[in-house]
């Protein structure tokens, strides 16, 4: 019973897991559709959804598939707690619940249009960016040059490796720069931490930066970009917080007066500067 025929926000929809891809030892990507085989809802790049297993818990995850994919949604999820353990143990055909989309999105149709784009991700931080990158690839002619810097602990911890190698790298106008933290057999690419690699690559500040990864990586990458002449109002990031409702009401994900689930998760660094330094 939804009052005034408004969409019911706290009652989820049913989802079915139709495919599970093992990305890394602790990351799996789940494909989710409704029981009648449709996409659960439309979203914009950078938005999130609440996934849940009844009795186990509910949590917010970035939607990693591009909105341009009209068949299904994908979620790349790292195993790091009770719910994600459960999700990782699922088999194809398992039903879950899903509600969303939540939060703002990257300004792909406004600020990004016509710009060169630089995506920088570390580890599972690629998940929220993948949606944007694929969106940009889909509407390739709307944007300028695209650079992607992606690093992880080891080559086995690179999420979406197949897609990166076979699709992104192969696409003209996209430069992919991969790196891993420590040298290992079978890897002939770059070795080193993402912020250092970004410094080495020495990007020209004629583009918009998007950073996502562990807090420490974000911090150092931002300062690396600033040294290259980037200003904070041209760099974006996406945040993570404990969220329960996803609709800016439960009261826990705020930084100052901004609610990460509703006003975020995408923030420009100059916007973050206006907020109290509570979350570092």
């Amino acid at each position: 019973m939804a009052a005034n025929n408004r969409p019911e926000t706290l009652i989820p929809k049913l989802g079915v897991v139709t495919d599970i891809r093992i990305d890394t030892p602790d990351v799996k990507t789940f494909r989710v559709v409704t029981p009648d085989g449709k996409k659960a809802f439309d979203h914009k790049p950078g938005q999130c959804a609440m996934l849940s297993i009844p009795g186990v818990g509910e949590a917010m995850f970035s939607i990693t598939s591009s909105p341009t994919n009209e068949e299904y949604m994908e979620f790349s999820i790292k195993k790091c707690g009770c719910l994600t353990d459960w999700l990782h143990a699922m088999e194809v055909g398992q039903q879950i619940t899903i509600r969303g989309p939540y939060g703002n999105a990257f300004p792909v149709d406004t600020a990004f249009v016509g710009q060169n784009l630089l995506f920088i991700a570390g580890g599972i931080g690629l998940a929220p960016l993948r949606s944007v990158i694929n969106y940009v690839r889909h509407y390739r002619d709307r944007y300028g040059r695209v650079d992607i810097v992606y690093g992880s602990r080891s080559m086995h911890d690179l999420v979406d490796y197949e897609e990166i190698i076979h699709e992104w790298c192969a696409e003209e106008g996209i430069q992919v720069h991969l790196t891993i933290d420590r040298a290992q057999d079978g890897w002939d690419g770059h070795v080193g931490f993402v912020p250092n690699y970004v410094t080495e690559l020495d990007f020209h500040p004629d583009c918009i930066g998007v950073i996502c990864g562990p807090p420490i990586m974000i911090k150092f990458t931002l300062s690396a970009l600033e040294k290259m002449g980037f200003s904070k109002d041209q760099v974006y990031t996406t945040m993570e917080m404990r969220m329960k409702c996803g609709i800016g009401k439960c009261g826990r994900c705020n930084i100052g007066n901004k609610y990460v689930c509703k006003d975020g998760p995408v923030f420009r660094f100059d916007q973050l500067d206006e907020l109290p330094e509570e979350y570092d």
């Binding site: 353990d85 459960w86 143990a89 699922m90």
Partner: protein, 664 residues
Amino acid sequence: MQRIGVFVCWCGSNIAATVDVHAVAEAARHEPGVVFSTDYQYMCSQAGQNMIIEAVKEHHLTGLVICSCSPRMHEATFRKTAANAGINPYMVEIANIREQCSWVHKDMAAGTEKAIILAKAAIAKVHLNTALTPGESKVTKRALVIGGGIAGIQTALDIAEAGFPVDIVEKEPTIGGKMAQLDKTFPTLDCAACILTPKMVDAAQNENIRIISYAQVEEVGGFVGNFHVKIRKKARFVNEDVCTGCGLCTEKCPQKKVPNAFNLNMDNHRAIYIPFAQAVPKVAVIDPNYCTMLKTGKCGVCAKVCTAGAIDYKQQDQIIEEEYGAIVAATGYNPISVEKFDEFAYSQSKDVITSLEFERLTNAAGPTAGKLLRPSDGEHPHTIVFVQCVGSRCAANAAKGKEYCSKICCMYTAKHAMLVRDKYPDTDVYVFYIDVRTPGKNFDEFYRRAVEEYGVHYIKGMVGKITPENGKLKVQGSDLIADKQLHIDADLVVLAAAIEPDKSARPLATMLTASMDTNDFFTEAHPKLRPVESPTAGIFLSGTCQGPKDIPETVSQASAAAAKVIGLLSKNTLKGNPCVAQSDEWMCNGCSSCANVCPYGAITYENKEFRMPDRSTKVRRIAKVNPAVCQGCGACTVACPSGAMDLNGFKNNQIMAEVDAICK
């Protein structure tokens, strides 16, 4: 999320007759996490076990539920099966649908319903099972025996005979203990020294035995198989390796007024002395409280007369640190102090003596060279009254005395009475008793001889008062059988004082984390089934430190303890039970509740530095469970309010999952 296989056993018709096994298997199949469910005639048979192994492989099972007979029956079997199938043996849970279901419920519907619930409970539990691996620890192949009385000597000898090195720590300058002070032993009346001293010599000569005399345990750390012990060897001011035990110094020492503890202070020895002729080690020792040289720096006679040059006035206490695999407590007993029993006038008259003093008075090596003479005037006593149960079998709330029976007094009093009558037939001997207890081989015969052949007057009753008067001791007592008051003018009164554990036992127990009862006797791990072990693993009990005993009993227990020690030391490593308690160090607040209830002393505390979420560091007191010592009872888990303490195999959430499944 587990992948669970459920296997329902028919046990022939034992289960299948009252439980619909197919229905159980079918119901289990619908439980979350169950990916395979089946039933079979005999799950424990080779074929049944193979079926399990196959299913594990085919369905990649991670947890097994066997609905069968009692886990007490076949849990071990199915754990092995699991191991053979390549999964951890502790990923198995048994639903007992035979003893606790099919055999006790006649109604098929009720039995089936219950079996399904029991299966669901086991499934709920196995969901939360985790792989457990028994911990292993090495065993130091050396034993420590604390106490060098007959108990300690016997234990040490047996262990040494089995080929393991063993140290005896004795607080006196010589081993031998109480038995060395005794004259004759009941019921055979052979001389104590004659049977003890050869054993003392054996101990001294056994190359596997090291005697650390005049020494005390100061610190015990570690756990079963790996004890680390600090022993303080007191300075004797005589070089043990050099002294030949010739005894010249003990004759030349000018300080003659040192009470002779071995003779219960009934005579004196010199400031340098050898406790008794057959002492082991036979090495002199200087009593620093009396030695003029040590007190004033003037004298040095002993050093002058010692041709071996063994005297060393500068000798210091020595600390010996050693690793042991097992520790045996053999700290023995002492008679209680009878001074507080005013009615017996022990403090008022020298002629009221204890039984142990009586032993010394009749011993050929004693202060009277074996002649029975009154301590007050050296006269031969003509009337002797023995009083039994002095301080034994007292009311629980009595201000003095012990609640328990000291066990040995009846027999040694009979022995004393008999010996007196035998040597001095002119002596009248009276024994006041509450009951005469003679449950031992040849004990009752012995006692009856005392009464029948030797004419000892046994009087059932207690002595009310003893009054020294004109060189006599007026003994007032009651004869309960004749129902009259008795007055006996005695020359000598011998009190059969209760025995109590040696005072050194309590601090030792604390160091060993071995439990004691309210009387300070060591508690055994199980009063019937594990009588020579302390609940603390690796600690064994020998002799009267565990409870009153006579010599034969002491020796048998000493050998039993030795057998247990040998069993332990013959292992290279100890494999623990993995179902032990575990403390979550982030949740523990170090309150000590768990350690208070642990019967095994398995819990210790440490101050550990933690890196807090705000990146500061904090030192927190936290509990640590030693898995080698913990036996897995779980008492600590309930004592812990925060739930920081949990028990592997029976975790809080596992039991609650069972509860939930059952009450659903």
